[in-house]
């Protein structure tokens, strides 16, 4: 059973947004992709009642960084249940440790080559939207 709720993509780089959307499309993942350009916007969307099936979160963001977003979500009873995948360029060990510590469900480094990226997105979509049993969250259709 695939989860058809929207995917929240938190990413400030429009190139990366376009490439991510393209990668989802190429993998035939039909879920709506809601884009937040910074951490603040992401939190606002979530507080306004958006219940995504998956959050793809970059760490380096304007205003509120990815780790801070994780921190706020972790403190919220409802938001902490939403599967969150950190999708970023960095693989600084400290970032990885801290992200998991703040409740990230997965940490993926964006590869430079697009072929690799498409593969990665396919794996993410397959696992989190189809294989994985989503938590029951109020407000989810």
């Amino acid at each position: 059973m695939s989860d058809t709720s929207p995917i929240l993509l938190v990413e400030d780089n429009p190139d990366d947004v376009a490439l991510t959307q393209r990668a989802f499309a190429r993998n035939n993942i039909q879920n709506e992709i809601v884009v937040a350009r910074d951490g603040e916007e992401a939190l606002r969307l979530l507080e306004d009642g958006l219940v995504p099936s998956l959050i793809l979160l970059d760490l380096k963001l304007p205003k509120l960084g990815g780790l801070e977003v994780l921190d706020r979500m972790h403190a919220d009873q409802r938001l902490r249940l939403i599967p969150t995948v950190v999708l970023t360029s960095s693989r600084e060990e400290e970032d990885v440790v801290e992200a998991y510590g703040l409740g990230a469900n997965s940490y993926i480094r964006k590869p430079v080559d697009f072929g690799g990226f498409v593969d990665t997105v396919r794996h993410v979509g397959l696992y989190w939207l189809i294989v994985n049993e989503a938590p029951p969250i109020e407000g989810r259709p």
Binding site: L19, R22, D113
Partner: protein
């Protein structure tokens, strides 16, 4: 003046001889009683006999003095004194108690048979008390001393009376002290008085210095001369020489002998005062030549002496200050320091550091030691002050502290700068890893999109361009990764420990084999290779060197790689690959510098730079040697090369591994 140990020993010997002599004499008298020989009882014909009990008491007292045992002294002393007291009581009551002849009958003595003379009894009481009390402390010992002196006086009077033929003066109740008894009593009195050298007569005689010597020189003649001369006079009168001639001889010998004693004592004192003068002179020279300023000051504050070093240190000449108030401290300060004088007068030495003002107004820091000046009688008459100038030393110390502080400050500043630089580097590499990669992803992604979506509309050249764009983007991605890795190596903490290089090399080699199972490389790794270093970093070094060796020897007919020991502390990685042009060996370790075309061998030119980075962090060296086609040899050390001896020690410490 402390007692002279030789004198003390001589006095102790005299004491022993005196006690032993008394005992011998008394024993002889006892033998006389035992065999009924009157001459042995009296020694001098026509005189009284020494009585049985009297001789027995003398033996006991002499034994107690020889044994020097408090219990024996108390018992014998009490017994002798008791015997004397009973005898005196008999005289006082005018009645015999039967006690006198309890053991043996005195068939010789007409009056008071078996009973000693009253003065003998008195001497015995005194000697008994002296022996009883001489082992005691303080007052008891002083009483014993007085008793000894009394007994000596009583028995000497009797003896002098006998030798000078004037016995009638000393007979009491027609009873005379026997001559052997008088001699015994004199000897015992001498032994008693010398049994305590810390008190009374013993102390006076054993005293060190001129005083004791003169006393010892004059006291013996003073006692012995009248005895000896009186006896000689009696003898020559008995020989028929007239009384007047005998008196003349008596006086003359007295004059001669006493003059000799006086000359002897005077000479001795003269020598002693010469010694004192020489010592004083030596002391004066010492003070004059001393590099330390030495000053004496009266309790009132007037300077008594001022040596040359003091003139130099304080700038005042002796003439300027001697007899006047000390110029070194103000009157007020002198008054406030008066309490020190009591402490110093009590014998304490005060040591302290102080600031004193020179004549020219400059201040000097001095270490000061103060101790009392005493006159001949031992009274406190002033203060010795010895000054050591420590101004320069203190200045240097202060300078040292200042320099040290400055150094610490600089180190702190530099550490802060270093930390700042380090954190900047961290921020930079973080930014590189994020921001520099994003455009590359866009380049590759959109080139791919273009190819996928509009591929059909593009010709072959356009496809080639797109593939070049994507290739360039990926290469740059790899480059960024390598640079980040190199930066990470720089940042990693270095933990030095023994590292098993052989095991690490085998580990890396198995990874290389796994990645390229088709390659047949002859990989020779020596056993027992070890270094002191950070295991993770050493692994990075081996990984890079072995990867290079693997890569560059792949084309050889029989690829061969060796990992072996070089000079002590060196590890060598050698291959038989293509090598490199030795002309450019200085560029080997420059980041991004490649000596082979990218088309020939892949790589970014970061591997050897990373190796050098690690080796440098360990304080070691790395070098590469090659001739083109002759293989490459890389040699590295971690830390300064140690000598053979030290490496033996280190290898022992590591459990025998070399």
């Amino acid at each position: 003046v402390p007692a002279n140990p030789a004198v003390t020993a001589a006095l102790q010997r005299t004491r022993t001889f005196a006690a032993a002599g008394a005992m011998l004499l008394a024993l002889t008298v006892l033998v006389g009683w035992g065999i009924g020989n009157v001459d042995l009882q009296r020694f001098v014909p026509g005189q009284s006999t020494m009585k049985l009990y009297q001789a027995g008491a003398v033996v006991l007292l002499a034994a107690a003095l020889l044994l020097r045992n408090p219990a024996a002294s108390a018992a014998c002393g009490a017994l002798a004194a008791g015997l004397g007291l009973v005898t005196l009581a008999e005289y006082a009551l005018g009645a015999g108690s039967g006690f006198d002849e309890l053991v043996l009958q005195d068939t010789f003595s007409a009056s008071h048979p078996g009973r000693m003379a009253p003065n003998s009894a008195a001497a015995l009481v005194l000697l008994g008390l002296a022996v009883l009390l001489q082992t005691g402390s303080g007052r008891a010992a002083r009483v014993a001393n007085a008793c000894g002196v009394g007994a000596l006086a009583v028995s000497l009077l009797e003896l002098v009376g006998f030798t000078s033929g004037a016995r009638e003066l000393f007979g009491v109740a027609h009873a005379y002290m026997a001559v052997p008894a008088a001699v015994c009593f004199v000897l015992l009195a001498v032994a008693v008085l010398l049994s305590r050298l810390d008190i009374g007569v013993g102390r006076a005689l054993s005293r060190g210095g001129a005083e004791g010597t003169v006393l010892r020189l004059t006291l013996a003649p003073a006692f012995l001369l009248p005895l000896a001369l009186g006896y000689v006079r009696t003898l020559i009168v008995d020989l028929g020489v007239s009384q007047n001639v005998a008196d003349w001889l008596y006086s003359l010998s007295g004059v001669v002998i006493l003059t000799a004693c006086a000359v002897f004592a005077a000479r001795y004192l003269g020598r002693a005062s010469e010694v004192v003068a020489a010592t004083t002179e030596r002391l004066r020279t010492l003070v004059a030549l001393s590099p330390l300023a030495i000053v004496t000051v009266e309790p009132g504050g007037n300077v008594m002496s001022w040596n040359a070093a003091a003139e130099q240190l304080f700038g005042y000449t002796a003439a300027e200050v001697v007899g006047k108030r000390t110029p070194l401290i103000s009157e007020a300060e002198f008054e406030s320091r008066k309490k020190y004088f009591d402490v110093i007068a009590g014998g304490a030495t005060v040591q302290e550091e102080a600031v004193r003002r020179r004549k020219d107004g400059k201040e000097v820091i001095v270490e000061m030691a103060l101790s009392p000046v005493r006159d001949a009688a031992g009274a406190f008459v002033g203060v010795w002050a010895v000054y050591n100038d420590v101004t320069e030393r203190r200045r240097i110390e202060a300078e040292l502290v200042r320099l040290n502080d400055e150094l610490e400050q600089r180190v702190a500043e530099q550490t802060a700068e270093l930390l700042a630089a380090n954190s900047e580097l961290r921020a930079f590499s973080y930014s590189v890893s994020h921001d520099l990669r994003a455009p590359l992803r866009a380049l590759d992604g959109f080139a791919t999109a273009l190819e996928e979506d509009y591929g059909e509309a593009l010709d072959e050249t356009a496809h080639d361009y797109l593939s070049r764009i994507r290739g360039a983007a990926r290469r740059m991605g790899g480059l960024i990764d390598d640079v980040l890795h190199m930066a990470k190596v720089t940042r990693m903490d270095l933990i030095r420990e023994p590292v098993d290089v052989t095991a690490l090399a085998h580990d890396v080699a198995s990874e290389l084999r796994a990645a390229a199972p088709e390659a047949h490389v002859d990989l020779q790794i020596d056993d027992g290779l070890a270094v002191q270093g950070d295991a993770a970093l050493v692994r990075i070094v081996l990984q890079n060197l072995l990867e290079n060796a693997w890569k560059f020897s792949a084309a050889a007919k029989r690829p061969r790689i060796e990992v072996r020991a070089g000079e002590p502390g060196e590890i060598v990685v050698a291959d038989n690959g293509v090598g490199f042009d030795a002309t450019y060996s200085d560029k080997l370790f420059t980041p991004f510098q490649r000596l082979h075309a990218a088309s020939e061998f892949s790589g970014n030119g970061v591997g050897l730079a990373t190796v050098q980075n690690v080796v440098n962090r360990h304080g070691g060296t790395v070098r590469g040697e090659s001739a083109p086609g002759g293989g490459a040899t890389f040699t590295f050390t971690l830390g300064p090369t140690v000598s053979d001896d030290e490496s033996t020690v280190q290898s022992n410490a590591k459990g025998g591994r070399t």
